[in-house]
Symmetry: C3
Subunit: 109 residues, 3 copies
Amino acid sequence: MKAVFHVVEMEKWSLSLINVRNLLRDAKEDVEIVVVANAEAVDGYTKDFELAHVMTKQNAKGVVFEACANALKAHEIKEDEILDFVEVIPNSMIELIKKQEEGFAYIRP
Amino acid sequence: MKAVFHVVEMEKWSLSLINVRNLLRDAKEDVEIVVVANAEAVDGYTKDFELAHVMTKQNAKGVVFEACANALKAHEIKEDEILDFVEVIPNSMIELIKKQEEGFAYIRP
Amino acid sequence: MKAVFHVVEMEKWSLSLINVRNLLRDAKEDVEIVVVANAEAVDGYTKDFELAHVMTKQNAKGVVFEACANALKAHEIKEDEILDFVEVIPNSMIELIKKQEEGFAYIRP
């Protein structure tokens, strides 16, 4: 199973991470999970975000967290302000298209 | 045609059911519709929800309504409190992935 | 690359058009973009909408903008009130299914 989660609003981080946690726990087969955040949701990747410890734990289990470079720029967040494991991608739309082309299911919490 | 509707917020039930109604009415070919509710939206499956009669009618036309067991538990809703025809699924994320693997289009009202 | 953007809320027009702009700018290969608006978001297609000039410019670059006829009717918007280049489609759900069947990635800003 392969899924790409699209997180757009800050208020959706909590639900998104619960969704990911439950998916990791309940999946009977291997599951590849990529979380793509853009727009204001990239603020959730800053080191002082209250759910950073949850992301850190999920990343250790193989979940990939990605931040849209365009959104980081628009929200004036520098790369050294975000969690170390977060991968900065040039364009989140291209990533969402590519992932779906590769057979990832799209989930918008 | 096959579509899976993902309902996350209570306030999206009205629009979601309008979308389903219009799809049933306008489709020129057979259409398989599955509605997956998770998070707070599972509250919409309780028997006293104001749109329960709409769901009941749509279910009679073949629409499948599914509730995420994890969300029911989180919102302290017991299975005997929800509409009889609603199918409880163990994990809505897995269901959304599986449905997309089976060729269902994903729609997030 | 092919992507269908699903715009549902008026407040999502700004982000949606930024997403489209960035995609057009950053894509290294041809990209086919269809924007499907339904529900209240069809109000964004009226000629006096503040972002009409952005849509006009993007349409000139090949982006297709579509309005759900059911939503126009529900919101009492006549076809002569909307931007000339907007294509009225009978049912936005059917369009979203067809586009995904044709290999378009689904993006819900």
